[in-house]
């Protein structure tokens, strides 16, 4: 006959027998209570983002950083702060990788079995250089700001410049 969990009515799936001071102590638990008691690891129910967020929090010394967090922490290209990254586990733009390098690279290494460098495929075409990418990102941001501020003259000029830069790189 199947045993029930010691703590609820579900069938027990985890069984432990301990001998303490010569006395046998049996424990029978269902998946849920086994995970809760630490008898087993509850598998796969935590969304990966949450896992990463927790992981980032633990390993980045969250508390210390929170005290220091100032506007200087924000990525100059997209305005993402490290605190926002910790919350969402999403970076805002390619520049974030440089902005948060110091705090990010140990996390990246831990998430990738200690790896710190890419060794795989690279785009066959050299593509636009890093500086060119940055320039485009910044101009597009200024264009957005100009449109928002209804400065259409500036917006038109920026649009032309972006178009030209894109032509040059194409």
């Amino acid at each position: 006959m199947k045993k029930k969990c010691d703590q609820c009515d579900r069938p027990a799936t985890h069984h432990a027998i301990e001998i303490v001071a010569g006395e046998k102590i049996e424990t029978h638990l269902c998946d849920y209570h086994a995970a809760e008691s630490g008898l087993s690891v509850k598998a796969g129910h935590t969304p990966i983002n949450q896992l990463l967020t927790n992981f980032v929090k633990v390993h980045s010394g969250a508390q210390k950083q929170e005290d220091q967090e100032t506007s200087e922490d924000a990525c100059e290209d997209c305005g993402t702060t490290f605190a926002a990254f910790r919350e969402s586990s999403l970076l805002g733009c390619p520049t974030c990788y440089t902005t948060f390098d110091e705090r990010l690279s140990p996390l990246i290494a831990r998430a990738h079995e200690g790896a710190r460098r890419h060794v795989g495929k690279a785009p066959r075409r050299a593509g636009v250089g890093h500086r060119r990418q940055l320039q485009l990102t910044r101009m597009r941001r200024r264009l957005d700001e100009a449109v928002q501020a209804e400065d259409y003259e500036l917006a038109a000029r920026l649009r032309d410049d972006i178009g030209q830069l894109e032509q040059e790189t194409a």
């Binding site: 796969g44 990738h112 990418q133 990102t137």
Partner: protein, 353 residues
């Protein structure tokens, strides 16, 4: 070609053919890419999001990729269509839901072997699907598509970190390799937790049929790599082809054989009980159906149940999902009516009573 055309077929990943299809349902390869010169999706302004969408569309809906490409604008498509695409594993649940009304879309090769999600977490997520154990083929096709796209699109790339992605867990190759496996033997013999633990020790993720939180459905498990940096694509692939997947198949087969040898009556009971339910039930919830189908599939693969072929079983895994069921019946149903309709469909397909 529209979305409606693809609903009548079972779709590539559930054809139930291909090498090792007794255990491996499907192979999937995904590449994450972002356009250079734009912020990632969550930080891009609306105008930039539209621009990214348009740039990707120009390149993806191209004769160079497939004779016919279906482009589905997800921002203004009905919830039922989006659900259908999730059930077919062509888009993620996240992409279907679409946070903050981000303009987003999916391009689907008409043979349904590949799809490109645009403006999901990254600008582009290309995935290639194959039934059975065909990771090599899937990867080769993903590379071809990636090469074609990068002729015209500049991807955000750094020499140090490789392809840059919104979440640093995908950085480097941006490659996620997943294999969907049917592991009823390991579940019945309660060995599955051991396998999951071993997989985690190898830095692999184990999820259910529809990702996180669906682990119990139909004894179907997706195993995928977590490490994307510091290993070349071929290395990641080779680990799966030569170590991970063969080992899990071996464990599963051992479990099946042990059950057949030592608990033959219990095994038959599970198989025939499931067959009984499927051919006689008058109402079936999705979870219950998937569980019963799993045991029937096991029975067919062990040669203990010869009433139907594996193809029909695989088809039912998909057709009985809520959106597919309604697409087949062409009517909107509430959950209770759906359970009845689902049982009817299953009985009809299996020649039940």
């Amino acid at each position: 070609m529209t979305l409606r055309h693809i609903t009548d077929r079972a779709g590539e990943w559930l054809r139930g053919e291909g090498p090792r299809s007794d255990v491996v349902i499907s192979s999937r390869v995904r590449l994450a890419r972002n356009l250079a010169g734009y912020p990632f999706v969550s930080k891009a302004g609306r105008r930039q999001q539209f621009e990214v969408l348009e740039r990707c569309r120009e390149q993806v809906v191209s004769k160079r990729l497939a004779d016919e490409v279906i482009w589905v604008d997800l921002s203004d498509s009905p919830a039922m269509d989006r659900q259908l695409l999730v059930e077919r594993h062509l888009i993620s649940r996240q992409h279907a839901a679409g946070e903050n009304k981000t303009p987003r879309a999916v391009a689907i090769g008409s043979d349904e072997t590949w799809a490109v999600m645009v403006n999901e977490e990254d600008h582009m997520r290309l995935q290639v699907l194959r039934s059975g154990m065909q990771l090599g083929d899937a990867y080769a096709q993903a590379q071809r598509i990636d090469d074609v796209l990068e002729e015209k699109l500049d991807f955000s790339f750094s020499r140090r970190f490789g392809y840059l992605t919104a979440c640093p867990t995908n950085v480097g190759t941006g490659l996620r390799v997943s294999v969907m496996m049917h592991l009823p033997g390991l579940v019945i013999s309660r060995e599955i937790e051991k396998v999951k633990r071993a997989a985690r020790d190898m830095h692999l993720a184990v999820r259910g049929l529809f990702g996180e939180g669906s682990e119990h459905l139909g004894d179907l498990f997706q195993v995928s790599n977590q490490t994307t940096l510091g290993k070349a694509e071929e290395e990641i692939l080779s680990e799966f082809e030569h170590t991970v997947v063969p080992n899990i198949i071996e464990y599963e087969n051992q479990a099946r054989q042990a059950l057949a040898r030592q608990r033959s009556a219990l095994l038959d009971d599970k198989i025939w009980r499931a067959w009984g339910v499927l051919t006689h039930a008058r109402a079936l919830a999705t979870d219950e159906l998937l569980q019963m189908l799993s045991h029937v599939r096991l029975g067919v693969n062990l040669g203990r149940l010869t009433e139907i072929d594996i193809r029909t079983v695989n088809e039912l895994f998909l057709l009985s999902q809520p959106a597919h069921l309604q697409a087949v019946l062409q009517e909107d149903l509430d959950p209770a009516a759906r359970r009845v309709a689902r049982a009817d469909l299953v009985r009809r397909k299996l020649g039940g009573h």
